[in-house]
Amino acid sequence: MKKIILPGCILFLAMSGLALARVSGLFPTAIGPEPLTATYQQINAVFTGDWQQYGQLFTNLQQFLFPRLFLLVITIVPVIFFLHYIAIGPMVFDHGGKQVYCYNLFVRVVHWCAALSFSLLVLTGLLILFASLFAGGAIGIMARSVHLFSALTFTGSAFLLLLVWIKDMLPALYDIKWMIIMGGYLTKEKKPVPAGKFNAGQKMWFWLATLGGAVMAVTGYFLYSFSGNIDTLRLSAIIHSFLGAAMLAMFLIHVYMSMAAIKGALGSMISGYKAESELKILHPEFKY
């Protein structure tokens, strides 16, 4: 026991001596490092952004959610349409009768510009997201360039479409009804649905493509130019991906509707004419 006490006492004396010396200023030094936590936080804030919040979020989403989300969209949506096509089938209208001139040449050209560039955006976007399947490198870099140019084209055309169609695309009360009956697509019955020149589905697609497109353009700009701070980039990437998935889904719906669900819809955007009989059913409120 003594063996412990004696050195213990000495140690205690030495320690208290040291402490006294420190207090009395005999060692007028403050050398022991101060807690660095605050410094570390500052360092983080200066150059890595708030990784805990956005960095982690981005990493998790990018690693798990986004590839799966997009995979889901490009698989599930076509499957649903396929089932719909089989179960309900396309709407067929007699395209004889009176023809109504709906889309002038300018609108058609702009629409097809938008359509083409958007398709490219979808393709290249998917290519970037799933680049590992294509070995990356030159293909990926090319995809990014094409994505940029398509984005520029699309931004331009979408803006023009916005100007041309904005009046027709304003929401109306009957749109709610249209939404409730899902535009009549779940039944084979040909009954007039409540819709103006554009139905609620088209309006949704339109607003997503223009307003959403604007958001995509802004976030895309950040991602491409790497301007803004790192948290802005992370948020941009997250928004770009989520919105991208939504637009992809709408895009697929639009393609299905025009190509398959309504026979002849494609033709109307090429010629500009729609049959009156079709309009009576699908766009009864359209005052042409």
Partner: protein, 197 residues
């Protein structure tokens, strides 16, 4: 929560198959750093460092036919050592001068780019002279001939003290000595260098 997710996931992310993208990588990755680590440490680790430096890790060199030349950094007066790796008369890279007793391999940014003193594209390429306000390239012979002639003329007309020589603290001690000796043989005390300021 998110943190956990990342960690659990990342074991998937680091696929072992990727490590062997190139069989060489896998082999190299087993090399344990030797001289390296201890070197960074300070005096306390020197014994460890020298003991480990003998491991066969450094068996292969990037430039087997090169030779090492030792010099001293030309920036400040600390006098850090420079280990220059030279191949076929070209300074290919600057090595860490780990053994130097003062710097122990350390450099500031100036010393770390010592090689740039030789490779900088801003280095002068030939003697030059201003003619009508424009720089003109001339040969060494012309330059030295003209300078010597002008100096002699000034000496004859105005005396040796009409020349001032600003020497240098950046040349070797031998050259500094020659500069002072030159002034003495020229016949003037108008000689000085940066130590004055």
């Amino acid at each position: 929560m998110a943190q956990r997710k990342i960690r659990s996931s990342l074991s998937v992310g680091t696929k072992t198959s990727r490590v062997t993208l190139n069989p060489k990588v896998a082999r190299r990755s087993f090399l344990k750093l030797s001289a390296a680590t201890a070197a960074l440490t300070g005096a306390v680790m020197t014994t460890k460092m020298t003991a480990k430096a003998a491991t066969p890790a450094a068996a292969k060199a990037a430039y087997p036919e090169s030779k090492m030349v030792r010099s001293i950094c030309t920036h400040c007066a600390v006098g850090c050592g420079i280990e220059a790796e030279v191949r076929n008369g070209v300074w290919i890279r600057q090595e860490v001068a780990q053994d130097h007793p003062v710097s122990r391999g350390g450099y500031c940014c100036k010393g770390a780019s010592a090689i740039d003193m030789v490779t900088s594209e801003k280095r002068l390429k030939s003697p030059m002279k201003r003619v009508n306000g424009k720089w003109q390239k001339i040969s060494w012979d012309t330059a030295m001939g003209e300078i010597a002639a002008k100096l002699t003329a000034i000496r004859d007309n105005d005396g040796p003290d009409a020349l001032h020589l600003n020497g240098s603290a950046k040349v070797s001690t031998e050259m500094a000595y020659l500069q002072r000796k030159f002034a003495a043989f020229w016949g003037s005390n108008n000689v000085d260098h940066q130590a004055r300021i």
